[in-house]
């Protein structure tokens, strides 16, 4: 219905005011602060960016964010969700199985951090993984999963996978159920086995959903913070961009550098943002 001028804006006014005050203006202001000194007292040009692009802790953060998290965490969560959704579809206790996988979605990073302390503990008497390995391998020397730089980031990623596979599973499971039964049946009568049906029917038919889920997960992993903050505080080469930003802001109190890192984080997410906008436009064309 065509509305009298101004009425829609009245409906949107409270939301627009809050969005402007808490997101739009602050984002623009942060961009300005990123060219100023530690206490925003003077203009420093691109110094903060030079620091943010070269300091050793930042390089570790980029490696972790763009290689470990972006590639491995995303791949594990999406592929894991897909495989679990397919498996769940074939058993009668599907709903309870899915609830089990989905449950960690209700748990905070703080809670998950504590849960996994007891999984990763160095002492074989207390840490589950070391206890199991100690039980099956002779002469096993316990590994400090969270303090050894080789293992620490993969260990954090596994906690993330535990928390977020339920999310991708739920979405992909709904998409799989949307595939008409006749298509699967036709493939089966043509002699396709379960693996062929998975690879040549199910995966291609949910490809667009896999795309949506992947974008969402990528945005999450680029912003990842709480898990690292709670479990390792960025030590043992586990730093990520969001934690560096937090440290510069609240511990070192260098607002310029902190803002520059925040801007870089935003830039890293921008491609995903563009993908989302394009997808929205396509949907609107169909509406």
């Amino acid at each position: 219905m065509r509305s009298p001028r101004g009425v829609p804006w009245l409906y949107m006014a409270p939301a627009l005011i809050l969005l402007t005050a808490f997101l739009l203006l602050p984002a623009v202001d942060t961009l300005r602060l990123s060219f100023l000194g530690p206490r925003s007292e003077r203009y420093v040009g691109v110094d903060n960016y030079a620091y943010a692009l070269t300091s050793s802790q930042m390089l570790i953060a980029y490696r972790n964010n763009f290689i470990y998290w972006l590639i491995f965490a995303t791949a594990l969560v999406v592929a894991g969700g897909l495989v679990i959704a397919v498996l769940a579809d074939q058993v009668r206790y599907e709903s309870i199985f899915k609830s089990v996988i989905f449950l960690p979605q209700a748990i905070s990073f703080v809670g998950a951090g504590i849960i996994f302390r007891f999984v990763y503990d160095f002492r074989p008497d207390l840490g589950l993984i070391n206890a199991i390995l100690d039980g099956i391998l002779p002469n096993y020397r316990p590994i400090g999963w969270l303090v050894n730089p080789t293992y620490a980031t993969p260990a954090l990623i596994l906690v993330f996978v535990w928390m977020w596979t339920g999310f991708t599973m739920v979405i992909l499971s709904a998409a799989l159920k949307g595939i008409p039964k006749e298509i699967i049946e036709a493939a089966r009568t043509d002699g396709a086995n379960a693996w062929q049906i998975f690879r040549m029917v199910q995966v291609p038919m949910v490809a667009s959903t896999i795309g949506v889920v992947t974008t969402t997960v990528i945005i999450f992993v680029l912003k990842v913070f709480d898990l690292v903050y709670v479990m390792t505080a960025g030590r043992y080469e586990t730093n990520v961009m969001a934690n560096r930003m937090y440290v510069e802001l609240f511990i070192i109190r260098n607002f310029g550098r902190s803002s520059a890192i925040a801007v870089i984080l935003l830039l890293a997410i921008t491609p995903m943002m563009l993908v989302n906008i394009r997808r929205f436009r396509e949907q609107e064309a169909l509406r």
């Binding site: 409906y11 602060l33 905070s108 703080v110 803002s259 935003l266 906008i277």
Partner: protein
């Protein structure tokens, strides 16, 4: 071999895999739950799996950890703070988002597309880019460290997702319905409050669960705008502080973690299908 046995044997590997995955997923949480009910000395010296040696022995179990975290460590107060942060932090953004989403779904005006695209952009903006300016704004207004500050912050931060989700929900209501009430002379406000909102109760519930979990489980926003003083600190902040401050008393961490998890788990398990609905509407489109 009868057909039933054959079918059972061919599907056995599938069941084994599925059950193994379920066990891997459950064990970490289950272990923590068991740990939280063991006496301090036992937590400190042996793994939780040792309870299965003599599961029903009374000496294996204790409630002292819960007593101590709730009283001495102040988690009862933190629990109240969490509730006090979360209830307005859940209801305010939904109220504000609903009317905006209605305008975006069912009113035609110039700039509608621009507003919605802005919201899609804001949906993924890392909150980090807003902290310094917002923190300064709160300090100038004398709001830093107050509940009002965190209610406003969670409302602002929760809006993009809430508007996006509700706009999709409202937009999927049948057009005829609106046309017929307008023909009957209803105003837009009536169409919003007496048609769109009541028809969207399940969707509003889905959004409420999302926002509830997000605010209850939030650490970062609370850390920055509310801080760690016991009078205001919610559970996540209080427990994150315990992680850093407990020395020899680290045996309290399992019970502390469970206190943070209990309410979200109840909400989640009892309202899971609404949550699923919200996830689906938020991401699978097109």
């Amino acid at each position: 071999m009868s057909d039933r046995v054959k079918r059972f044997l061919t599907s056995l590997p599938l069941h084994l895999v599925v059950i193994a995955i379920a066990i891997v997923w459950l064990v970490p949480t289950l272990g923590l739950l068991i740990s939280s009910f063991r006496p301090p000395q036992a937590i400190r010296s042996t793994g939780w799996w040792t309870v299965f040696g003599d599961f029903f022995a009374e000496s294996q179990w204790a409630l002292v950890n819960y007593e101590e975290v709730l009283t001495t460590q102040g988690l009862a107060q933190a629990f109240r703070n969490s509730l006090f942060v979360t209830l307005p932090g859940t209801l305010l953004p939904i109220a504000v988002a609903a009317s905006a989403a209605f305008a975006l779904a069912w009113m035609e005006f110039r700039g509608r597309q621009t507003v919605f695209i802005t919201i899609i952009v804001l949906l993924v903006v890392p909150l980090q880019v807003t902290f310094i300016p917002v923190f300064r704004m709160f300090s100038r207004l004398g709001l830093a460290g107050t509940f009002l500050a965190i209610w406003l912050a969670h409302t602002g931060y929760g809006l993009p997702f809430a508007i996006y989700l509700l706009r999709n929900f409202f937009g999927s209501l049948p057009r005829d319905l609106f046309e017929s009430v307008y023909l009957d002379g209803a105003s837009q406000w009536q169409a919003f409050t007496m048609l769109a909102l009541p028809l969207s109760v399940p969707s509003l519930a889905a959004l409420a669960i999302f926002q509830f979990l997000w605010v209850w489980n939030d650490l970062l926003v609370a850390l920055i705008y509310l801080g760690g003083t016991p009078r205001v600190a919610p559970l996540t902040v209080a427990v994150a502080n315990l992680v850093n401050s407990l020395g020899a008393e680290w045996y309290l961490l399992p019970s502390a973690a469970f206190i943070t998890m209990i309410l979200p788990l109840i909400v989640f398990l009892s309202l899971q299908r609404y949550f699923v609905r919200g996830i689906l509407a938020g991401s699978v489109k097109g």
